[in-house]
């Protein structure tokens, strides 16, 4: 995969910021379970929320290869912050694919004013089973009225605008779903509980409750009833961000393990001399290298608009499984110290788990992949 | 000036402020003496200041054969133009061969200006100076690349040849109260209107009155202290040793202590007799500021901290336990 000079320039800037401003404070915010507000503000200032915003709307619209490269850098440093950007980009994708010019102007204008976006699909009873979405959107004159509860929403409470999937016809199941965009300061959009998570604790995850939340009619994106199709199409590209992020996390874990193995002396020599450790490191790196190629290949296919869906699912599936295995092995290599919060390894293992769950569980990914294979 | 005109004598500039000398000026009389002896010429101290006759007298006691003294209120505090123009007048009149200047903030301000006006070579921050018999030039040795490289430099075709030296690199010469020498009083011909800078306000940040660059003992604190209040440990240890308080960049950036205490590449360079680094990891930029110290003692709980690579003595331990013990032992030692 060729890294161009332009990609490297952007990447170096982001890497420099994270190395100087984020790495020193990650452990502290992880312990508190708080998102680092100043960092988020700095990254918005830098334009990291505009990667999927078209240039005619003052955005950066990088290609997917570049986005994956950036996702990898973010994953190296913190998957929470990476998730915040990933979800932001998902929301932008929906608008890019299906929004009309007025809506794009409105939505992207909120982002360029210095805000992140969020994506509201999941509900307490609707995880993998999107058909069970119970949040309703009822047309009332010139407005839709939203009622319902969304949960596990990344950037909940800090986003300036949300993409919301709600049902305009409960009797039709997935064919009754529609997509809207809702400003964060709409009356009737209430931020509920703040989730206390196992990992990615530098992202803000909340419940969002819609209580007679009124939005203008023109906030319906595309057509009523097309919500499920739109959401799947969005995730069909945006979940590749997770692939990139997972590769970054895995590689960081490996790099930490290599340093540790060289310096940790047991039985008179660094443990790097033990074949048991060497074999683990070799397997970890091989898997991660393969995941990287898959993620970049998927990105390349998206950029070329060539039959990418299966590759995006495979990329997300494989990379997240690799990240989980690699970080777990990482804790093992660090031994007792791997278990202690004083060392960075256990956080990486905790962070890795969500990558197998969100943006479509890895079980759903397997459904998607096999469906595509069997439909031929 | 080229080497054709007969330049003679070794000059050492003794900087003063508020009527008091900067110690580095006297320190440079040591290498100045060596060079003057090697070429059988005079060692001349140059003293500018207000009410500084006593500095001129002390310069002779520290080894100067002559002193050129310009005593004028204009020199109570430093200004580029007053010092540069007056020094140039003297150089044009007396044609020295070699000029040594202390690499203080002000020395590094006018030194290059004078060198440029003379179209001659100035070597900065020398760590050693000697006379090269073979070439007949002074050999100036200085560090570059943050101390990773040393260079020997000479100025073969231009005179006077000039160099600046940091405080603490040389120890004070022996004081000989009965040494005789001539004090030549010169006038300052600069008028206020020729001086293009004016001091509007002076703010003091260092609460203790000890000049970090002249201190013999420095106790420094870093990130390991954890919070501003814990600088009390550093202050207490400094107090019992009669030393100054220094700091790493991390502590200054965290707002625990003013920048005036910062030692390092973006702070002050120091070379005390004893430098005690507490809770300082030893980043290259910090080492660049203190690695010239005679004895370095480090206290850090991380045995892999880079500071231990330059420390002469290192204690791997919790500074909050070690420092109180250290203070106890020092007091015991003092009372014994």
């Amino acid at each position: 995969m060729e890294i161009t000079n332009e990609m490297r320039d952007l990447g170096d800037l982001i890497e420099k910021y994270f190395k100087n401003e984020v790495d020193p404070v990650v452990a502290e915010y992880d312990a508190r379970g708080e998102y680092p507000e100043k960092v988020y503000n700095d990254l918005i200032e830098m334009g990291l929320n505009l990667l999927a915003v078209p240039t005619e709307h003052d955005g950066l619209m990088v290609d997917h290869k570049t986005e994956t490269y950036i996702a990898e850098i973010l994953g190296r440093h913190d998957c929470g912050i990476a998730s915040a950007i990933g979800v932001n980009n998902s929301a932008c994708s929906t608008m890019n694919f299906f929004g009309n010019d007025e809506q794009k102007k409105d939505f992207f204008g909120i982002l360029t004013s210095g805000k992140l976006a969020g994506f509201c699909l999941t509900e307490p009873n609707a995880g993998s089973d999107s058909a069970s979405v119970k949040t309703t959107a009822k047309l009332d004159g010139d407005e839709y009225v939203l009622n319902g509860t969304k949960c596990f929403i990344t950037n909940g409470g800090i986003a300036g605008v949300y993409i919301v999937i709600a049902s305009t016809d409960l009797s039709k199941g997935t064919k009754g779903l529609s997509v809207f965009y809702v400003e964060g300061n709409r009356e009737g959009l209430i931020i509920g509980k703040h989730e206390d998570k196992m990992g990615i604790r530098l992202s803000n995850t909340t419940q969002i409750i819609f209580e007679d939340c009124r939005i203008p009619k023109d906030h319906l994106i595309g057509q009523e009833g097309k919500g499920f199709v739109y959401a799947m199409k969005t995730l069909g590209t945006s979940r590749n961000f997770v692939g990139g992020m997972a590769v970054g996390l895995a590689q960081r874990a490996i790099d930490e393990c290599v340093e540790y193995a060289k310096s940790r002396v047991q039985f008179g020599k660094p443990i790097a001399y033990k074949q048991g450790i060497q074999f683990m490191l070799a397997d970890m790196q091989t898997q991660t290298a393969a995941a990287r190629e898959l993620a970049y290949h998927a990105a390349d296919l998206i950029d070329k608009n060539e039959d990418y869906e299966i590759y995006v699912s495979m990329s997300k599936l494989f990379a997240s499984d690799v990240a989980m295995k690699v970080t777990t092995d990482g804790v093992q290599i660090f031994g007792g110290y791997g278990y202690m919060k004083e060392y960075p390894m256990e956080k990486m293992m905790r962070d890795a788990k969500i990558l197998q769950i969100y943006e479509g569980t890895n079980q759903i990914q397997r459904v998607v992949i096999s469906n595509i294979m069997l439909s031929k | 000036m080229s080497a054709n005109i007969k330049n003679k004598n070794v000059w050492v500039f003794i900087e003063t402020e508020y009527g008091k000398e900067k110690k580095v000026g006297f320190e440079l009389l040591k290498p100045g003496r060596e060079i003057a002896d090697a070429v059988n010429q005079d060692l001349v101290a140059i003293v500018f200041g207000k009410d500084v006759k006593n500095v001129a007298t002390k310069a002779i006691a520290y080894g100067a054969d002559k002193v050129i003294l310009v005593d004028n209120p204009i020199f109570e505090r430093y200004s580029t133009d007053a010092v540069t123009d007056t020094l140039m007048d003297l150089i044009n009149k007396y044609n020295p061969d070699t000029i040594l200047i202390g690499a203080t903030i002000n020395g590094r301000d006018f030194g290059p200006r004078v060198a440029c006006r003379l179209k001659t070579g100035l070597t900065a921050d020398c760590t050693s100076i000697s006379y090269n018999e073979e070439t007949g030039n002074v050999k100036w040795t200085r560090p570059a690349f943050g101390g990773n490289l040393m260079a020997d430099i000479e100025c073969p075709n231009n005179r006077p040849q000039m160099g600046t030296v940091r405080p603490g690199v040389y120890k004070l010469p022996l004081l000989k109260e009965d040494k005789k020498g001539e004090i030549i009083e010169e006038e300052c011909n600069i008028s206020e209107s020729n001086i293009r800078t004016k001091i509007i306000e002076t703010i003091k940040e260092v609460t203790e009155n000890i000049n970090l660059e002249e201190a013999e003992i420095i106790v420094s604190g870093g990130r390991g202290l954890g919070k501003a209040e814990n600088f009390s440990y550093i202050r207490d240890l400094a107090k019992v040793l009669g030393g100054a308080v220094g700091s790493s960049r991390a502590a200054v950036d965290s707002g625990w202590i003013p920048h005036a205490h910062q030692v390092g590449q973006t702070g002050k360079t120091v070379a005390p007799k004893v430098y005690i680094a507490c809770g300082i990891s030893g980043a290259i930029q910090h080492l660049a500021g203190m690695s010239g110290s005679d004895t370095i003692i480090a206290i850090n709980k991380d045995k892999n901290a880079p500071i231990f690579e330059v420390a002469h003595y290192g204690i791997v331990g919790d500074l909050f336990e070690v420092i109180p013990e250290f203070i106890k032992e020092i007091e015991k030692y003092k009372n014994s």
Partner: protein
């Protein structure tokens, strides 16, 4: 305000290592950066521009690869960039370097108008001399203030916050002036992704010794009164004593014994 900032591309000296076999500096693979203090100088210049309006021009004497450093400056607020590159400039000591920079600065005033301020970092982290700024001021015959941590422009007055041993002074200086900047009160800003992309597309003006009427005898090795006779890596004495006893008290007692022996304190 019309501001010129002189910058230098330097190797990141924190990354430099010594080759243990040949005992020489290993420069390959060491990243090049904008000299640390020049970044502080540029940040002050850009802030002055943002407050008072005007333009910030950056200039650097260096080889072709110094373009990357100039682009970095464009991405954090500089408006125009000039690279002075010529074989004849190679090997210049500080007198020759400042001569070259001063001559081009005068030349640039034909394009950019008279400069109110010329800012430099207090020293380059590879050369560490700190001489080029003051020597530039002398070549140009203008005032100088060194060790600045902040600069304010109030009407036609320029006020510079200058470090001293005990704290700092506020100094009023007549413009035009050269001001050399140490670690300032303001951390250099990060670029934005957008400004990075724009800077990469921007044109760097490249000038050489034929671009202006410069006496090449005063450049390069010929124009340098100081000559490097020898360069070498310093010997590292790595024989410190590490103490780690059971208790802090025991460690301190061991230390006291060692230093009392050597009469350290």
């Amino acid at each position: 305000m019309n501001i010129l900032v002189c910058i230098k591309q330097v190797p990141d000296t924190t990354e430099i290592k010594i080759n243990p076999e040949t005992n020489t500096l290993m420069r390959e693979g060491v990243p090049s950066i904008v000299n640390t203090f020049d970044s502080y100088a540029l940040e002050l210049g850009v802030r002055l521009k943002e407050e008072h309006g005007g333009k910030v021009t950056v200039m650097s004497m260096g080889p072709e690869q110094a373009k990357a450093a100039l682009k970095e400056c464009l991405s954090v607020g500089a408006d125009e960039a000039y690279l002075l590159s010529d074989r004849a400039f190679g090997g210049s000591d500080t007198l020759a370097t400042s001569f070259i920079l001063a001559n081009f600065a005068k030349q640039l005033e034909n394009e950019e108008g008279k400069f109110d301020l010329i800012l430099c970092g207090k020293q380059a982290i590879d050369g560490d001399t700190g001489q080029v700024g003051p020597e530039m001021a002398e070549h140009l015959g203008i005032a100088q203030v060194t060790y600045a941590t902040d600069i304010k422009a109030e009407g036609d007055k320029t006020l510079v916050k200058r470090e001293n041993d005990q704290g700092y002074d506020w100094i009023e200086v007549l413009s035009p002036a050269v001001i050399t900047v140490t670690k300032s009160d303001f951390e250099p800003r990060y670029a934005t992704l957008k400004s990075k992309i724009a800077a990469n597309k921007a044109e760097i003006h490249v000038l050489n010794s034929k671009s202006i009427n410069i006496d090449v005898e005063k450049c390069g090795l010929k124009g340098s009164p100081t000559k490097v006779k020898k360069s070498y890596t310093p010997k590292k004495e790595n024989n410190g004593i590490i103490i780690k006893e059971e208790t802090a008290s025991a460690s301190v007692q061991t230390l006291m014994r060692l230093i009392a022996d050597k009469k350290v304190i």
